[in-house]
Amino acid sequence: MDWAYFLQQLINGLTLGAIYGLIAIGYTMVYGIIGMINFAHGEIYMLGAFHSLITFLICQAAGISGILPLTLLLMLFVSMVLTSIYGWGVERVAYRPLRGSFRLAALISAIGMSIFLQNFVQISQGARVKPMQPLVEGGITLMDNGKFDVQLSYMQIVIIVLTLVLMVVFSLLIAKTSLGRAQRACEQDRTMAGLLGVNVDRTISTTFVMGAALASVAGMMVTLYYGVIDFYIGFLAGVKAFTAAVLGGIGSLPGAMLGGLLIGLIEAFWSGYLTIEYKDVATFGILVLVLIFRPWGLLGKPEVEKV
């Protein structure tokens, strides 16, 4: 066993997993509160990537891209704000009017929204892959056994640390604030929460905004980490993040993160040791297995069928 190689895959997997986890939180929160799969969430993540790329280009044009921390913060902030508005808008336009209507209607509306957003970006920004030069370069060499260097790049550190910080902030937000309480109330019983004075519409909107903000961070990380994005990245990432949410237990925030990390690790190790072509098959295979044997996920609670 080559431990260096193993360690490198572990690091890569955790980085990838952090990104999936951030997207998965959006799925989990929305599913928890209104019980629908926000199919357009992957597209929101893609928009986040584009927003951060364009912010960077603007910074570059304005000549401030040399000041790295400022550029990074601007990218983070602008992309979070603008992408959140898309999250809000999607809910407002495509889901809210269908709330309480026939179940499949909202899902199909979401699929329509996803196709729309994808093509919207394709037309307005072009179909070609958008490259971006690396911003955060360099890293630490953790281990060097002669034939293989184990690298932990600074970018990977940024991703993991930022993810941890966001996780802590959001967990506190949901556990401690009245907003979090309102969200949990709406999860339990929307009608009753409304009768007790919770502003249900606003709570649901906030949930979408929060999910979109996290997805936009994931989008920015991917832009920086891989250095290429296109209008189509949302689809696969979205499906995988949803898999992560299901794997962790839909409705559970830590579960989404755990699921994301697991999916990231599986993907990294599968590509590292087996065939890279079939890594997506591995993810979907896991989704199927989880849903068959443990549909409530690793950290979720089994749902009882009330008769």
Binding site: T55, L107, I108, S109, I123, S124, G126, E277, V281
Partner: protein
């Protein structure tokens, strides 16, 4: 208009505030994605600014919102119609700019076009008049009498449609049968009709799964792919004829349906959707990567074309030992013969699908599908095996998908994984849902709308999917249950269909 505002709930400043809010939202949403274009240059990405698009986005949002406010505040039909016309022109404007990307600051495109020639003046005025009239007459008015009138009209149409579905279906079938006689020489018309018919067949197949059994399948294209590849591979490797492969392709697809369905059919609705989507992707990934068998991304080409039931060939140079189709019927060779034959073939396949579905609906299995869609727990309490019942729907739907796939392969002569993406599944699903789940005629209408129209407006190719996506959302908002979402009983005891429909209308 001032008087209209005075009588309403919202006052002026509030309206302005609301509009300002939406203007800011539109600004934020468009400022980067629309306002800034990333342009590839040899030196890397550069930016190009398009402020006019942002302004247009804001403008049309504000106008649209104003329209909603007018509607909410019950402002006169005239006002609403004017507003809708203005916003339609604004959207058009945005659309044209979006395409041409030139800097028309001073003069709106619409005016330019309108004044460029007499014909275009007339066209523009007609355009305005149609939008205006449509808006004016479709608006609900305050007066109760008129609402009554329009409700009566729509229920009359419904009554007519629902009590004559058989006749309407028959007229449709006759139309499709004589279609080649009308357009026989027009290659593109036959091609388009064949394409629409493939989607009608796929829609009918999926309708069994989604419409009748209520199982949301986002990976239907997988079965289409299985059908196509099984025909292509069987015919290339074992030299089997199309007529032998057609049933085999259906059987393969159905077995796939059973194998895939068995573990997942107990899942709740939207989980099932994601898993089926996953399966669709798995099959595509396998097709791409299993190079030795499937040719990978290059696909399989020169797939054998069907013969005339093994009796005659359609090609110009007939191989030894067989005769040409033209010869058989004493006609000259024409390349249209094969196209028309293919058209009739898919028509026949689609009609078989339809016939089987209609018949199954009235059998215990079909009723069990519908019952399962309504309430699975009640079904279990009545002794219906949910897994097997769902599985049968899945397998039968898959089988028709497989037939369609085999037809697709023989018609194209070439297949590759490109043709079997998730988007394809989404299109088929949209046809089913748009048509009205479970409605056979709805599927035909939706397939014509979704496949036929976009193919006719080829110039909009780039915008096709954009409009398609927006259209799905709009239709869902407008009619969450689809265009023709009536369920006709499978059996009646005391009354005729007509009486039943009339009774429901009351």
């Amino acid at each position: 208009m001032a008087s209209a505002f005075a009588s309403s709930r919202t006052n002026g400043p509030e309206v302005v505030k609301e509009l300002a809010f939406f203007a800011v939202i539109a600004l934020m949403m468009s400022v980067m994605i629309l306002g800034v274009e990333t342009v590839d240059r040899p030196t890397g990405l550069e930016l190009a600014v398009r402020w006019d698009l942002v302004l247009l986005a804001i403008g049309s949002t504000v106008v649209g919102r104003l329209g909603l406010i007018f509607r909410r505040e019950n402002i006169s039909r005239l006002g609403q119609a004017i507003l809708i016309t203005v916003s339609a022109v604004a959207v058009f404007e945005m659309f044209v700019r979006f395409r041409d990307m030139d800097d028309r600051w001073a003069s709106p495109v619409f005016l330019d076009m309108a004044f460029s020639s007499v014909v275009s003046v007339i066209v523009s005025i007609a355009f305005l008049a149609i939008i205006f009239a449509a808006a004016y007459f479709s608006m609900k008015d305050k007066t109760a009498v008129e609402v009554d009138e329009s409700a009566k009209l729509s229920s009359k149409i419904q009554l007519m449609y629902r009590s004559n579905t058989k006749k309407i279906g028959l007229i449709g079938i006759i139309f499709f049968i004589i279609f080649p006689f009308i357009f026989g020489e027009d290659r593109s018309a036959i091609d388009l009709a064949t394409l629409v018919m493939i989607y009608i067949m796929l829609g009918w197949g999926l309708n069994i799964v989604v419409g009748l059994a209520g199982l949301l399948d986002l990976g239907y294209v997988a079965f289409y792919a299985v059908g196509a590849y099984s025909y292509a591979l069987l015919s290339q490797n074992f030299d089997l004829s199309f007529w032998l492969c057609l049933p085999l392709a259906g059987i393969f697809a159905a077995s796939f349906g059973i194998v895939l369905g068995f573990p997942v059919l107990r899942l709740r609705g939207d989980y099932l959707a994601i898993v089926t989507l996953g399966f669709g992707e798995i099959i595509r990934v396998v097709l791409i990567n299993w190079y030795d068998l499937t040719g990978g991304p290059d696909g399989i080409s020169s797939i054998e074309r069907p013969s005339f039931f093994g009796m005659a060939e359609f090609s110009r140079r007939v191989p030894e030992g067989s005769i040409g189709f033209g010869e058989l019927f004493g006609m000259d060779y024409s390349s249209m013969h094969r196209l028309i034959f293919l058209y009739y073939l898919i028509l026949a396949l689609a009609l078989v699908t339809n016939f089987v579905t209609m018949r199954l609906r009235k059998l215990p299995i079909g009723r069990a599908w519908e019952a399962l869609r309504e309430d699975e727990i009640a079904c279990r309490s009545l002794g219906i095996n949910p897994t097997n019942t769902k599985l049968s729907a899945f397998a039968i739907g898959a089988m028709f998908g497989g037939f369609a796939g085999a037809f697709f392969a023989t018609r194209q002569g070439f297949i590759s994984p490109e043709s079997f993406t998730f988007l394809e599944s989404a299109v088929i699903l949209a046809i089913v849902v748009l048509g009205g789940m479970g409605s056979q005629i709805g599927v035909v209408l939706a397939a014509i709308v979704m496949i036929g129209f976009p193919e006719m407006f080829r110039e909009l190719a780039e915008y096709r999917m954009l409009i398609f996506g927006a259209g799905i959302v709009a239709i869902m908002l407008w009619r969450p249950r689809g265009l023709l979402s009536f369920r006709d009983p499978t059996i009646l005891l005391n009354m005729s269909q007509k009486e039943k429909v009339a009774g429901e209308m009351k």
